[in-house]
Symmetry: C2
Subunit: 219 residues, 2 copies
């Protein structure tokens, strides 16, 4: 699949880009600055020089022309970026992995953005896109480390059943990640906010946690 | 330890009561109605008649005289109940396991109460108590089923380090539950809200999930 990543130069976006490319997808890393996107792509090609990775660079508008578009910008740029290319996102699956946070001293605090979540803000900004929220809890560094699978359950929510299924299938391709249907886009509020707790645990226990849910059998 | 449970007749409160009693604690189930508390205690004694369980019944004021007090009322009664016995709670560890929810159709929606969480509302209502938030994600039915251990990580947060430690030690006594230090009471907002996601998964997958976090080694 052709996948574009808005704000793909950050740790989460570039981690997802390289992981998706490793699974055979054509991934374009988008950025406000095409130059920075190109630098990120060059660095990833160099880091994983032994692998065939279909990674290209573009500005966010170019990345928005892909079949499936990921929003991996900082949370406060997510809606604005999506709205700026709204025409291209209409009718498309838009996977939003951003979450709103503030760091206050040693504490990560969850912020509640307008409409309750970053994903709901993006959905409101591009009402004809099929917004799906997912991948908030996967540690970015692990995502980008192709030498290891990412052992994590991935909570996926959306108001669009078909788009949710598409994202769940995409996530299921990535080794050891298990997508879970967490319901409607309403659930993006607690899912996004919970990221603050996971970061807090990372600081406290000097680690990088990922959530697993007991009690759900693999089908 | 003498432990009192405010609103202890519900599934979460009575589940915790029987589990704590099974680990040798003296537990009083409190309720607005002492009669209802007595009925719950009788039912638990009958269900677990083969075991020595120190379970007694009282009104919430009586339960509030214990060394450690648990708030297991419905979320919208938590602050009022705590405030009504504020004198007894001063200086004590108050473990708040309530979370605010609405059921809209088939969807569980997290509500954000005043001050961001039920626990922070309770802390504001009884400022001299040492409020700790924990045990939101443990499925009530599993908690009350002494035949099986509860395999779950338990996120614990508080602004009072010593009280947090006390609750973590209490939780660690219960087989297969692992307490994790999730930081300050701010974190009760995403921790409480996340309960809605877990309930949503329970409905979707016809199960009862409990969270585990990979990446934290047991010390």
């Amino acid at each position: 699949m052709k996948i574009g990543i808005l704000g793909g130069t950050g740790p989460a976006g570039s981690g997802l880009a390289v992981r998706l490319a490793a699974h055979g997808h054509d991934v374009m890393i988008g950025s406000r600055s095409q130059e920075r996107a190109a630098e990120t792509v060059d660095a990833l090609h160099e880091k994983w020089s032994g692998r065939e990775l279909s990674l290209t660079a573009g500005d966010n508008a170019a990345a928005g022309r892909a079949e499936l578009v990921v929003v991996a910008t900082p949370w406060d740029g997510a809606s604005t970026t999506a709205r700026s290319i709204a025409d291209q996102l209409d009718g498309k699956v838009v996977l939003c992995m951003a979450n709103a946070l503030a760091r206050v001293g040693h504490e990560f605090q969850a912020l509640i953005p307008p409409r309750g979540s970053v994903a709901a803000s993006v959905q409101a900004a591009v009402p004809d896109a099929l917004v799906v929220a997912a991948l908030h809890h996967v540690p970015a560094k692990e995502l980008g480390d192709l030498g290891h699978p990412v052992e994590s359950d991935v909570l996926v929510c959306s108001d669009h059943a078909e788009a949710k299924r598409t994202c769940m299938e995409l996530i299921a391709q990535m080794a050891d990640m298990r997508p879970l249907d967490a319901g409607a886009l309403t659930q993006a509020t607690p899912i996004e906010a919970f990221t603050a707790v996971l970061l807090q645990l990372n600081v406290r226990y000097k680690t990088r946690v990922a959530p697993k849910l007991t009690g759900i059998k693999n089908s």
